[in-house]
Subunit: 524 residues, 2 copies
């Protein structure tokens, strides 16, 4: 399933003042020098995740005299995002040929035993973190120009010559982030698994907080608005770096489609540009992100600057509603009009209807704060109409669940978003959640992003125990598989799954997976 | 046949004064900016050498929008040695993934259709001129740090993404050499093939004349004394860059094995060091190179400085002679004691005996010039003894040819070197050459280096017509196959041959192949 949107005719309009504000909030990245903690052996074992065993202490790295075909796998002890420098030398006779070696970086051990050559997925193989390098003259200090996201680094000597061997004298990583996990107080709990889940959440968030909130430092390394919403919430509960949220809000507002529509994602290099990808839910999220930010900071100037952009998204998406006040899909690529989750064949109508209501509630609150009474009242009426339509047309009384689309599909997503949007009260929401869990519909949850909303809905309905249980089952499941940071994708029933045709391009430190620290700190 | 010599216990002694003299003669490289002349298609045709057809003018290069799997092959019009810079950009939607591409450089078209992955030879695959490169942010100006030897450059887009394509906006090569072929007067002849052979010789020499006389700018990129001797002769006939010869002589003398033995080759990067490879003939050649240099320049100071080193090589190799005054092999690797040629199974005794005599004649002349009468007389007697032994014990009267080793092997090499060493007079030499050509012994000539000595022997014996015929057959044969520079290896009967297990690591601009300009200018 190739999910790409292309609109080469898209006209972009730029607000230079907003861009200046965004740039004035750009962080100075903190740097941390990190060295390998051991030499390891990573070996397939017939299961999904390989065995990792420690072979040697890092002090012995220079003692490995690497000839053709030799490999040296280094463990940096934790997930790093940074720039690697290798000090290389030759031993033996004079170096009579270029050193030729491959560097392979892996966020988790599994990537280290996957074969890049076999990759045949639909997203770019350029994301596979490996380099083939020739060095004509040794010794040398090789400063790699690219940034990598990794815990493991394997150096494979493709060739030296019969006369000399390659030596790795030293390796270091200059890890970068706009924040430092050491500044965050530990979670107050005796539960070791919850402590661990909290720590790994924070590491995930830290490693995604660069010049913007990136979705994943391995891939795609850019700002998506759906991820931003969750990162901002986790950030408020931990680092409280408000400027980075402010920067990202201004960036999304600084360039839109000519009709004012906020893009799903944006790039800051080589120069700032928003993408030609649009999801209904992602554009709508501008309002709740702005409202959350204001609630945290009281920054009325930013609220005033950016409210029109938030309102405009509601206005634009309101055009997708039919005469029955139900939202309908748009665009030529089926199911690409709204994100919700990666679940194959998921009908998104009900969830999108709920997301709209959820977001318009926040937009209405913004209007109230800014004293725009008329707009607020308009929105109140609109929310009521959309809520009524959801209750009357998307509710299946017999099944006691919300349904979506012409085929009246039942999914987790529909129930979760209806609860979050307060289409039902917490009491009824709790029943719905119990019901959908018992039923376990075929249209399940795929992404950590969807699982986050599931847990949040449970907490909203007072199902704290069930919420903690799911946190331990889902995020704890990744930890049991060795996660140092939480993943882009995790299916407890099929841990090796990938939406890209191969897990080698999966991102294993992914923003939308970082929320347990927020959910835990909010609920404890 | 892996031909490597390793002596990790070798003690090197350095003469700092000589090293300073060598460094004071280091050239400032000339630079030439070169652009592609066309876009070409190189296609296998079932024969040894592929077809090259012009597809487009270079002005259209930026019009190629390269998606996954697309290739663009550029022709730089002639053999280049230099540093390549590419201006790259993206077209389409914003660049949402790293650009990942392969650059492949080929001295000749054949390399472009050879598959690097299939290489299984014994010398380092690091010599294959290809790079796998990721570029995270486009547009960019990519200055490749390594030097390449090439005429063709293929850019293969391994991946972009579904959203954008790679564009090559501009490519240039900053070609380098210590000399400029434009400074050399054309050969005075009406014969177009001889003119072409002369030009290609000069291009070959130019592209090997860098900070030292390199053997090949693709591979091995270092100074070998056997190549130096021939390069110096070709240089005297053309560029007359005397300082580069002086520099190389001082370098070989500046560091030797502790017994004073001159190494077969040396490196200047990362710092000057001589290799642990020794060939009897290569050490002996120090004397003729020095004598040739003095004859060209009259530089008595250098002759006086370096004569002891020349004498010492004669002295050291004289220890290899047995009581019958015949030279014998040494060392643990069979046939690695003396180079002569790459011919498999070649017995090197007779040729080595002759090389010794050839070199001692030049050493004796040096002694005479320096007024060292006693040493000159000693050498005269020694030359006579070795010549007598050759005439008495290595001559087969019945066959009318020189023989070598216990099995009394007959080869071109033995005859050629006996002629060059003046063991026979030109009259008898001519008969021997006619005879060996008619017989065409199984132990033939493999390298251009051996073919050079064959032609030189023919010229010495007044066989000018035969010499020119062979020049056209051998070097002209390479030109007919499209050579812009002469090759490390060429077998007219098997043009795809390689001593390395695969021709993809062959060097197609190789110093020891550059001598036709010398042979032609000397004989015309």
């Amino acid at each position: 399933m190739a999910m790409v949107s292309i609109d080469l005719d898209m006209n972009r309009v730029t607000n230079e003042r907003f861009l200046e504000k965004a740039n004035s909030c750009a962080p100075k990245l903190k740097e941390f020098i990190v060295h390998p903690v051991s030499v390891v052996d990573i070996r397939k074992n017939g299961r999904d995740y390989p065995d990792v065993s420690v072979l040697d202490v890092p002090e012995n790295i220079p003692n490995y005299h690497m000839k053709k075909g030799d490999k040296l796998c280094l463990d940096f002890g934790d997930h790093q995002v940074g720039y690697v420098t290798l000090k290389l030398a030759a031993v033996g006779s004079p170096q009579d040929a270029p050193a030729y070696f491959r560097l392979k970086f892996g966020e988790i051990a599994k990537e280290m035993v996957e074969c890049s050559e076999d990759y045949d997925g639909w997203i770019s193989r350029g994301w596979i973190q490996e380099e083939y390098i020739h060095v004509d003259v040794l010794p040398t200090t090789l400063e790699l120009p690219r940034r990598y996201a990794f815990r493991y680094l394997e150096i494979e000597t493709i060739d030296t010559s019969l006369k000399w061997q390659l030596v790795v004298e030293d390796v270091e990583c200059r890890s970068v982030s706009s924040v430092d996990a050491a500044d965050v107080k530990p979670l107050e709990t005796e539960d070791e698994m919850l402590q661990k889940i909290d720590q790994v959440s924070i590491r995930t968030l830290q490693n995604c907080m660069q010049s913007v909130f990136e979705d994943g430092p391995k891939r795609d390394r850019r700002l998506w608005i759906g991820d931003l919403r969750l990162q901002a919430l986790a950030n408020y509960a931990t680092f409280q770096n408000y400027d980075l949220v402010k920067r990202c809000l201004y960036l999304f507002a600084a360039q839109t489609r000519e009709d004012g529509r906020v893009s799903a994602c944006l790039f800051t290099e080589p120069q700032f540009i928003v993408d030609d990808t649009f999801f209904a839910d992602y554009s709508l999220f501008f309002a709740p992100i702005l409202m959350d930010y204001y609630e945290e900071t009281g920054d009325i100037e930013t609220l005033r600057d950016l409210a029109p952009c938030a309102f405009r998204q509601i206005e634009l998406i309101s055009q997708l509603f039919n005469e029955k006040e139900l939202i309908e899909g748009e665009g030529s690529v089926p199911n690409m009009w709204c994100f919700i989750d990666w679940t194959e064949g998921l009908d998104k109508q009900a969830a999108a209807q709920a997301v709209y209501i959820y977001c318009e509630r926040r937009a209405r609150r913004i209007a109230e704060i800014l004293g725009e009474a008329e707009k607020a009242e308009e929105m109140r009426l609109d929310i009521a109409k959309k809520t009524d339509a959801a209750r009357n047309l998307l509710w299946d009384e017999e099944q006691g669940l919300f349904v979506s689309g012409e085929d009246r599909q039942i999914s987790y997503a529909s129930q979760v978003w209806m609860v979050l949007a307060e289409v039902v009260d917490p009491g009824k929401g709790g029943e719905i959640m119990d019901h959908v869990i018992a039923m376990d519909p075929e249209k399940g949850m795929v992404s950590p992003y969807m699982n986050h909303h599931f847990v949040e809905a449970l907490l909203m309905c007072g199902r704290k125990e069930k919420a903690l249980e799911h946190l331990k089952y889902y995020w704890g499941g990744m930890i049991k598989l060795g996660a140092d940071t939480f993943w882009e994708l995790y299916n407890p029933e099929n841990p090796a799954e990938s939406p890209y045709g191969s897990s080698i391009v999966n991102s294993y430190c992914h923003a939308w997976s970082c929320t347990p620290t927020y959910l835990l700190r909010k609920s404890m």
